[in-house]
Symmetry: C2
C-alpha cells in the first residue's frame, strides 16, 4: 500500500480503481467500456448521471451548463479568450503562479490582456490581494489554487465583471458559491477523475456576446448544444469521473470532504511548523489545503528525508523544481491515514537526526 | 461472446482489455495507471514506446513527428488550417462524405477553401475521381475512408501541393506510403486504441510557414517541442493504444493485418452480392474494407434481420441514419470469426425467409 501524494494525475479512491477495471473487462452485456459507442443509451446514461452529479455536488444555480471536454486546462487557457474576449476589449488576469502566467500568455494570442497584480517577484509565495479590476474588463481570470506554489485563494475577488476561474487543483475540495462565477474550468486529473477530461461550468448568458468566428470544437456553444457529444468524447475518463463523483456523493458531498481536507491540511501544517527540521514556503494566510509545500531548514537533509519517506511507502512528495523541497498534494481521495504516515515519517526522521547529532 | 461491429469507439483485442484492466489495478509497484504522474519515467517509457511503434508500423520516413493529442479528429479539422492555411491562401478539399464536409466547414472558420469535387448529390455513394487540385493550394485535404458511407480511397491523389489526410477510420489497416503525405491525423478510437486520443503524423518541414498567432495547445510545434507532453496527456488512452500497437506488431504488423482485412471484406461483400436479400450501397470500386454498408432489397425485412442478428450476438450493425440499412465495421481487432458469424446469420435468415414464403 502506497501513500500517493502526487500532484496530478493523482490518487483516486481504491474502489474507483476496482470498478473501473471491472468496466474495462465488462461494462455492459459482455462489452468493455473501451469498445462501446458513445451513442449507446448506456453511455448516454453515464454522461447524464455525471452531469447531474456535478450540478448537485457544486450546488449549481440554474442558467449554468456543465461540459465534459478534452484538451486539459491548458486548452481552456485559449478557449476562454476565444469565446469571451472580443476585438478591442481587455481581459484582466491575476498572476499568482505559473499556471496563471500560462493562462494570460495564451490569452495574449487572442486579444488584449491586463495583469492586475503579480507575486512573481517573490516567487509566488503569496497571492496578491490589493488590486483593482478595471470595470470595463471583458472578464477577470484567476487561479483558485496554485498547484506548484501551494497557495490558495479562498475568497472570490469582488468585481462587477464576469469572473473566470481555473479551479483545476481545488474544484470540489471545498464549498464554493458558483453564482459568483461566470466560467469555471478544471483539468479532471485531481479531484474529478483521470487525465484526458476537462470540466467546464459556464453561465449560459456570458456566451455569444462577441463576434469572433470560432471553430466548432473551440466554441463552448457547440458543446452545450450537443450535450458534450459534439464529437466522440473521452468515454473512459468520463466513466471513471462518474465513479469518482458517486464516491464523493457517498462520502457526504463537498461539505463533508471539505472538513476532511481541513483536518488533513491542519495536521500536516501543524507538524511542519512544530518540527524544527521543516518549514513552509508560503504566506501562512494563503496556504493551500490541496498542495502543501515545504522545505528543510538544512537543505542537505532533503535527499535523505525523501529516501526515508520512500522507504515508508510515501511517493510523489518531491517538490516542483521551481520551489524545491517537498510538495504533499492531498486531494480528496488521499486518506487521512496517508497524512499521518507522512507526519510519522517526519517525526521519526527528526528523532533519527537527534540521535545522529 | 459478442460480435462487435460498432463503428467506433470499437472493438479492441480481448488481450488488450485484460492488460488494460490489470494496469488500472496495478500498473507499477502497486499504483494504478490512473494515479501516476505523466512525468514519471514509467509513463515516459510508455510514450517513447508508443512513438517508436507508430513509426515502425507506419514505416515512417525521417523528418516526420508523431503526436499524441486530445480533441479527436474534429479538433484537427480546425488545427490543420490554423497551422497550414495562411492569410490570403486557399486550401483545397475533396468532399467525399460528412466528415470531409465538416473538415472543410471548420477550415472556412480559419481561411479560404476550395472544394475540388463532391459526391454529395449522390449521397456520397462514390468517391469523385476526376478533379483538379490548383497548384497554388496551401494544401489538399481528403478523407481516406468515409466511415458513414463505406467508401475508401486507396490511391493517394496526384498533386504537388502538401497532402493532408483524415485517416481516422482506416489508419494502420493497410500499408500506405507516408512519404506521399505531409500530415495525417486520426481519432484513435478505431484502429489505434480507445476514445480520448488523437494521432497526428506531421512532416516537420510543412510547419512554420505561415505567421498566424496560434495558441500553444493548437500549435503542432508546441507538441513536437514537448514530445506530446506540452500539458497532461490522456495517460490511460495512450497506454491502451500502446497495448494495441504491441498487439498489431505481434500479429505481423500492418502488411499482415491488411491481408486479414482483405479476407474479411471480400467474404462479406461476396455474401452481400450473392445473397438475394441484400445489396451494397456504394460503387463497387470504392468499397471500404473497414465499413461495409448494405441494405435489404425489401426494406421491411431490415428490422427482423437486425433483431435476428442481435439474437446471434451480433451488435453494432445498424447503419448510420444518413444511409440506413446496415453498416458492419470491421476494424483490425474484429476477428474473422465474427465476420463468419454475420455471414452465417445472413444465410440462415435467407433460408428462414425462403421457408416462410
Ligand atoms: C492550476 C492548474 N491549471 C492548469 C494546469 C494544466 O492542466 P492540463 O495539464 O490539464 O492542461 C494545471 C496542471 O497541473 C494546474 O494545476
Ligand atoms: C473519418 C472520420 N473523421 C472524423 C471523425 C470524427 O472523429 P472524432 O469524434 O474523434 O472527432 C470520425 C468519427 O467517426 C471519422 O470516422
Ligand atoms: Mg501554479
Ligand atoms: Mg518547522
Ligand atoms: Mg463520412
Ligand atoms: Mg445481393
Amino acid at each position: 500500500m502506497k501513500h500517493n501524494f502526487g500532484a496530478g494525475p493523482c490518487i483516486l479512491p481504491q474502489e474507483v480503481f476496482k470498478q473501473a477495471a471491472q468496466a474495462v473487462l465488462d461494462f455492459n452485456d459482455g462489452l468493455s467500456i473501451l469498445e462501446i459507442s458513445h451513442r449507446t443509451t448506456e453511455f448516454e446514461a453515464v454522461v447524464a448521471e455525471a452531469d447531474k452529479l456535478v450540478k448537485e455536488l457544486l450546488n449549481l444555480p440554474s442558467g449554468y451548463s456543465v461540459l465534459f471536454l478534452q484538451g486539459g486546462a491548458s486548452l481552456q487557457f485559449a478557449m476562454v479568450p476565444m469565446n469571451l474576449l472580443g476585438d478591442g476589449q481587455i481581459a484582466s488576469y491575476l498572476d499568482s503562479g505559473v499556471w496563471a502566467t500560462k493562462a494570460l500568455k495564451e490569452a495574449k494570442f487572442v486579444g488584449n490582456v491586463n495583469v492586475v497584480a503579480s507575486s512573481k517577484d517573490s516567487n509566488y509565495t503569496f497571492i496578491p490581494k490589493d488590486f483593482e479590476i478595471p470595470a470595463d474588463s471583458a472578464y477577470f481570470h484567476y487561479t483558485s489554487n496554485n498547484t506548484i506554489y501551494g497557495t490558495e485563494l479562498f475568497e472570490v475577488p469582488e468585481t462587477n465583471v464576469p469572473v473566470v476561474c481555473d479551479m483545476s487543483s481545488d474544484i470540489m475540495s471545498r464549498v464554493i458559491d458558483v453564482s459568483k462565477f461566470d466560467l469555471i474550468y478544471a483539468g479532471a486529473q485531481k479531484n474529478i477523475g483521470p487525465a484526458g477530461l476537462t470540466i467546464v461550468v459556464v453561465k449560459d448568458e456570458v456566451l455569444g456576446k462577441i463576434d469572433r468566428k470560432i471553430p466548432s470544437m473551440l466554441n463552448y456553444q457547440s458543446h452545450i448544444d450537443n450535450g458534450s457529444m459534439y464529437n466522440t468524447p473521452p468515454v473512459f475518463s468520463i466513466y471513471v469521473a462518474l465513479l469518482n463523483l458517486r464516491w464523493l456523493k457517498s462520502k457526504g458531498g463537498v461539505a463533508e470532504i471539505e472538513k476532511e481536507n481541513k483536518q488533513k491540511a491542519e495536521a500536516l501544517y501543524r507538524e511542519i511548523d512544530r518540527n524544527p527540521l521543516f518549514k513552509g514556503t508560503c504566506a501562512v494566510e494563503d496556504r493551500s489545503r490541496m498542495n502543501v509545500c515545504f522545505v528543510m531548514e538544512n537543505p542537505e537533509l532533503e535527499k535523505p528525508f525523501l529516501k526515508y519517506a520512500e522507504e515508508e511507502g510515501i511517493v510523489g512528495i518531491k517538490g516542483h523544481r521551481s520551489v524545491g523541497g517537498f510538495r504533499a498534494s492531498m486531494y480528496n481521495a488521499l486518506p487521512i491515514t496517508s497524512v499521518h504516515a507522512l507526519i510519522d515519517a517526519m517525526q521519526l526522521f527528526e528523532e533519527k537526526q537527534a540521535k545522529a547529532n
